[in-house]
Structures are given as structure tokens and as C-alpha cells.
């Protein structure tokens, strides 16, 4: 239960926040209309150098040799940066909350895993000189078979995209290759249904295309610190990520940001700061690294592609009795945030409806495509598109009005959701009623009278008898742990089933982080019950 400690600072706080219905000016509006809002790239620093990266021309290839000799002698070049120059050249974004294994280098070393992956960085006096030097770098690639389709990537014999995850799937709780949701018995549900509808849906990657491209400027500051102006949407997250990759205490950095020229989720991946700072460390000069428009559109991370299979059983009276979901999230070549999107998707099933039997298998799959990231509602957006298309088709199948069909199946206060949390403050019925009214769509009287606050709970609050799946074999030895992983824990939660740990195998103590970034408590470890 959330507790508001209103006694603290009671004398300083005004609780009469009567703001609704009144216009309130944005605090940054005057800056925006006068052009004085300071974006990262509006800082002009004395002696600033320019960093550009050479990107992979292959979707999947082994790097045999990198020759930077001619580039080093190119006019204006101050420094060439290669993977070996990056203190900790392997990271995964969510390692800061101990979720996932380090799987992505800042600069590729042995292999490139998507077209456009950064391989070498050049720091030069001007953009032009940096580009000219890039053109003189020779990389000898040995092309490898690539896989671009999530279901192809899961087939036996598919190319291994990322050796950290040799099955081409993210690994949950050390052993699971996907997220499962089991609630009731879908097969029995299908048997009791009058109609069963199975459909396939998919969504392509979507680029955020912010008007300001990703970028940052890093400059040596006093006391051995570095000031970093950045376009990031996640200032402190980026700061700690840089502390980890560059292997320095996080108080080495003073990050300045917050004025972002459009993000929408495309500026949370700490894409430019580590190399800009490293460039500043290696040259002792301010260094700017900004994406061009082509880089932003082609190699900036998009909302990931998804493929979704839905199978629903519906009765003649309009009640959905079973929903079975199989979905594949295309993470691209590295994890970034897709592993989390899958968790969010599983928790969202079966959508805002009360369905007595639900079954979900959601996979985070690695392919040789551009790594995917956050974007407005990611994890839920494509699944909701699929579910709502399916709802229209189901309504048609049973001859019901699609709005009334949604009201009939909507969750209500007190209902048990498939992930075993009681539904509270539900409002789908009211949303549909208002939408129908605005669209001048006539609803029958009984549907106008329905309410999210009535007729929920009771039988609908029960967790049905649910069979559990047999346990799959343990994780392959090839998947190495990193200091950022949670230590293995003995089985505590009843679901999903886990083997009883063999007697006398103590839980290893958590290892201290080998770098300066702060270790956060594990959100994902403490939330399950």
C-alpha cells in the first residue's frame, strides 16, 4: 500500500492544487520561442574536436583485420579509437539494474552483428577531416550467414547472432528462453468455445526520427572531471552507463541535459556519450559526436519489430473463453531494452479483458537487424494492435457490435488478471461508452448501463487451477555470468517451477562491482511474488 508522508514538510506544502481546467505555461516555452533553449549542440567550446565512427557494411561478418595506418596520417586526425581502447568494451543497458548479460561492445572487435555497427572511431579537427579519415580505414571482413526473421532465428542451425545468447533468445531467470504466462486451461477453453479464431499479426520496426539527432559533447573539466552536454532522455542512466564502460567512478562526470529535441524513446541507449568522453580523455580536448540524419534513420535504434500469433475461443453469447498468444520480439543484434519489453508484454496479456483461460509464450529474439529500443508504450503497442484487430474479427464472427463486444469482455474492478493481480480502477467500459457517444455510435441500453465498478470480482476474482510446464534443461555453459548479474538464488516463487537446489550448494555472495557505477537493487528480482 502506498503511503503518502504528508506530515513531512507539511508547513511548506500547498495541497490546494486546483490546476485542472486552467492554462499553465510551460517553464521552457519562452526559451523555445526566442531560440534560447540550449540543446546539447548549442555549446561551442574552444578547440572542440569532432568524432565520427566507421560503421559495418555487413549485417554479419567476422572482422579479420582493421588497417588504420593511412587514416592515422590523414590531415587533421588527432586520434583513432578502436575496441581495445575502450576500458570495458562490453555492456548491456539494463545491467545497471542487474538484468541481462553484457552483450554489446562500444566498438566491434571480433565480429559485426548488424549493418551499421560502430567499428572504429576517428577524432579530428573538423567533421570533414574525420569523414576523410574514415574513408581511408580498411576493414577486412569475412561475411557470415545472417538471419533477419525472428522465427528463422529460432530454427535449429540458424546463425548464432550474439554468442552471449547462443540460442538467439534472451535468457530469463538464468534458464528460460522466453516469458511464459499460464492462467487456467486454454485447451479446455477452446473445447467449450463455439468459434476458434487463429490469426497472425506483425509490425515493422519504427524509427522515432527526432528532429534533433542523437549526440553529445564531452569536455575536460577541472579536478579531472568531464562535463558532458547530451541529448539523452535518461541523464543519470547514461552517466552510470558511461562510468561502467569507461571504468571510472560516476562522480567523474557532470552530465548536462534535459533540453532534448524530440526523443520518443530513441535517446535512451547512451549511443554517443561513451565515445565522446573517451575521445576527450584521449585527446584532452572537447569532443563532439553527433549523428547525421542518415545515421539517425538507419542505425539509430527503432521500436522493434514484432510477430504475434493469437488464437481465441469465443462463445455464441460473445464471451471470450480462451486466449492463446505466441509472440516474437525482434531485439536486433543486441538486447538493449527488448528483454524488458517482453516482460511488460507478458504482464499486459490478455489485454484489458477478463478471459478465464490465458496462455502466453513471448520471446525476445536476436537477429542481424539494428538493435531495437524503447518507444512510446513499447511491449504493449503492437500487442494491443493485434488484440484489437482480433476483437473486431471476433465480434464479427459472433455477430455482435464491436463496441458492445468490448464492453461485454472488459475487465472490471475486482477481477483477477492473468498475471495474478487484482484489477483496480478499471475504466475500459467507460472509455468505450464515451468513445461511442463521441462517435455517435449507438449502444443498446443494457451496455450503456454497464460499469467497471459493478459485477466484477466474485467468481471472476479466482485464480483458476493451472497446470505448469515441465522444466527445460539448464542454461548452456557458454552463457557466462558477469559481475552485473544477480547471483543464482534458490527457488522461492511457486511459478514458474524451478528445481530444488541440491543440498549443500550455498548461494554465492553478491560480488562487488568492479567499477565506479552505483549498483541498484534489482527491480526484477524483488517484484515477483
Amino acid at each position: 500500500m502506498l503511503e503518502l508522508r504528508k506530515d513531512i514538510f507539511a508547513d511548506e506544502r500547498d495541497d490546494n492544487l486546483n490546476e485542472i481546467g486552467k492554462g499553465t505555461q510551460r517553464q521552457d516555452m519562452l526559451g523555445h520561442v526566442t531560440g534560447t533553449s540550449t540543446y546539447f549542440n548549442d555549446h561551442k567550446l574552444q578547440g572542440m574536436l569532432h568524432l565520427k565512427v566507421l560503421r559495418s557494411s555487413h549485417a554479419h561478418a567476422r572482422i579479420r583485420r582493421i588497417d588504420t595506418g593511412e587514416a592515422e596520417r590523414s590531415p587533421g586526425v588527432r586520434r583513432i579509437i578502436r575496441g581495445a581502447d575502450v576500458p570495458r568494451n562490453l555492456n548491456t543497458l539494463l545491467s545497471l539494474i542487474n538484468f541481462g548479460k553484457d552483450d554489446e561492445p562500444t566498438l566491434a572487435v571480433d565480429k559485426v552483428r548488424y549493418k551499421g555497427e560502430p567499428v572504429v572511431a576517428v577524432v579530428a579537427d573538423s567533421d570533414r577531416e574525420a569523414f576523410e579519415a574514415l574513408a581511408k580505414i580498411r576493414v577486412d571482413y569475412e561475411p557470415l550467414g545472417a538471419v533477419f526473421d525472428v522465427e528463422e532465428a529460432l530454427k535449429a542451425g540458424a546463425p548464432v547472432v550474439n554468442e552471449t545468447y547462443p540460442k538467439n533468445t534472451f535468457t530469463y531467470y538464468e534458464i528460460y528462453d522466453h516469458q511464459k504466462l499460464r492462467f487456467g486451461d486454454v485447451e479446455r477453453g477452446f473445447a467449450s468455445a463455439d468459434h476458434v479464431l487463429e490469426q497472425r499479426y506483425q509490425m515493422s520496426p519504427i524509427e522515432h526520427a527526432p528532429t534533433e539527432t542523437n549526440g553529445s559533447i564531452a569536455a575536460p573539466d577541472t579536478n579531472g572531471r568531464y562535463v558532458v552536454y547530451t541529448s539523452t532522455q535518461a541523464l543519470f542512466f547514461s552517466l552510470d552507463t558511461c562510468a561502467k564502460i569507461l571504468d571510472v567512478p560516476s562522480n567523474t562526470f557532470h552530465f548536462i541535459g534535459g533540453t532534448v529535441g524530440g526523443g520518443f524513446g530513441g535517446k535512451v541507449d547512451t549511443l554517443t556519450e561513451p565515445l565522446a568522453i573517451l575521445g576527450a580523455m584521449l585527446t584532452g580536448r572537447p569532443v563532439r559526436y553527433i549523428f547525421g540524419r542518415e545515421e539517425e534513420m538507419q542505425y539509430g535504434p527503432p521500436r522493434g519489430a514484432e510477430r504475434i500469433y493469437l488464437k481465441d475461443g469465443v462463445r455464441r453469447d460473445g464471451r471470450i473463453v480462451a486466449r492463446k498468444v505466441r509472440a516474437y520480439f525482434d531485439s536486433g543484434a543486441y538486447t538493449r531494452l527488448s528483454s524488458y519489453a517482453v516482460v511488460k508484454c507478458a504482464a499486459h496479456l490478455p489485454g484489458p479483458y477478463t478471459i478465464p483461460n490465458v496462455y502466453g509464450d513471448i520471446y525476445c529474439v536476436f537477429t542481424n537487424r539494428t538493435p531495437a529500443t524503447a518507444m512510446r508504450g513499447f511491449g504493449v503497442t503492437a500487442m494491443d494492435f493485434a488484440i484489437e484487430c482480433q476483437m473486431d474479427k471476433l465480434a464479427h464472427l459472433v455477430g455482435m457490435d464491436p463496441m458492445e463486444f468490448r464492453i461485454l469482455n472488459a475487465y472490471r474492478d475486482g477481477d483477477m488478471k492473468a498475471h495474478r493481480r487484482e484489477a483496480k480502477n478499471t475504466a475500459l467500459i467507460e472509455c468505450v461508452q464515451v468513445a461511442a457517444e463521441k462517435a455517435k455510435w449507438s449502444l443498446r441500453e443494457e451496455f450503456k448501463r454497464m460499469s467497471s465498478r459493478k459485477d466484477g470480482g466474485g467468481e471472476r476474482a479466482a485464480v483458476p487451477v493451472t497446470a505448469t510446464d515441465p522444466l527445460k534443461p539448464a542454461r548452456p555453459a557458454a552463457q557466462q555470468r558477469t559481475p552485473y548479474d544477480r547471483p543464482p538464488r534458490p527457488a522461492a516463487a511457486p511459478e514458474p517451477p524451478r528445481p530444488t537446489p541440491p543440498a549443500g550448494s550455498p548461494t554465492p555472495a553478491p560480488q562487488p562491482a568492479a567499477h565506479g557505477a552505483i549498483r541498484f537493487s534489482s527491480v526484477f528480482g524483488s517484484r515477483r511474488r
Binding site: 510551460r26 519562452l30 520561442v33 540543446y39 527526432p210 534533433e212 533540453t259 529535441g261 547525421g292 540524419r293
Partner: protein, 159 residues
């Protein structure tokens, strides 16, 4: 590389800089003049964030060779205010919530100023046409269109 002397009027003041051959007006304004109000969004004429006025007409600074503005008048958002007083377009943008992230705003305002300077009472369609080359990825076009129309009907667009 040899540099060329370049003189032009920048928001009513004479400026002189030395530019390399092939340098565009956007880089010249930002890096040499120090006017950060025109923004870089694409460098290929696709987004309109760098829109400035050259002799009163809207141009994309990223596609304009710096040397072509020799002796001409360049106006940017930095010169839109009249001393401490906001231009009617700026006031209208504030009042109509016509900016979110703010990155397209300098280009939008200059495109709108070019319109109102030539056509003080535009129709809605003419406003839409005037900002058709300016992308707002926060998708706030409606408030922007309303703000331009409000500034026009305020009757003091030509400040």
C-alpha cells in the same frame, strides 16, 4: 584550405567572416557568427529546422552556400524580438502551446514570419502551405497553425 571573405547583414547588423569553399549558411551562422537559433536536423533540406530569411524570403540555411549571401540580409529567430518585446508570432506561439520539444520552433517561426510579411491575412490553407517544409515530430501542427492565424488576426504581424 583557402578561405573567402564574406560580408552580409545579420539581423540588421553587418557581419564579416572568412569561410571555406562549400561551407553552408547554417554552419556559418552557428560556428562563425555564433547564432545558435537555426537548428541542424538533417543537413539535406528535409526538415526545415534551419529555416532563415534571406532578403525577406524563407530559405533552408543547410542548402544555401554561405558565399551566396554576400551583401544580402539574413534574418534568424535571434533577431525576431524587438528589444525586450516579443514579436506577435512569438507571443501567439506561447499562448497557443505551439511548441513542445522546441527544436522545430525557430524554423517554424521564420517560415511563419516570411508568410505574414508577404501576406498579413493568410487563410488556414496558406498557413499550412507556408509551414509544409517544416517537420514537427512532436506532431503539434494544429496549435502551430492556430498560433500563426492568431498572430495574423492580431493585425500586428508586421512588427
Amino acid at each position: 584550405m583557402a578561405k573567402t571573405a564574406l560580408q552580409f547583414r545579420h539581423n540588421g547588423r553587418d557581419v564579416a567572416v572568412f569561410v571555406e569553399g562549400g561551407v553552408n549558411l547554417l554552419a556559418t551562422l552557428r560556428d562563425l557568427v555564433g547564432d545558435m537559433t537555426p537548428k541542424f536536423g538533417c543537413g539535406q533540406g528535409g526538415c526545415g529546422a534551419c529555416t532563415v530569411l534571406i532578403d525577406g524570403d524563407a530559405h533552408l540555411a543547410c542548402l544555401t552556400l554561405a558565399e551566396t549571401v554576400e551583401g544580402r540580409s539574413v534574418e534568424t529567430l535571434d533577431g525576431l524580438k524587438d528589444g525586450p518585446n516579443l514579436h506577435p508570432l512569438q507571443r501567439a506561439f506561447m499562448e497557443h502551446f505551439a511548441a513542445q520539444c522546441g527544436y522545430c520552433t525557430p524554423g517554424m517561426l521564420m517560415a511563419a514570419k516570411a508568410l505574414l510579411d508577404h501576406n498579413p491575412q493568410p487563410s488556414r490553407e496558406e498557413v499550412v502551405n507556408a509551414i509544409a517544409g517544416n517537420i514537427c515530430r512532436c506532431t503539434g501542427y494544429e496549435p502551430i497553425i492556430n498560433a500563426v492565424l492568431a498572430a495574423a488576426s492580431g493585425g500586428r504581424a508586421r512588427a
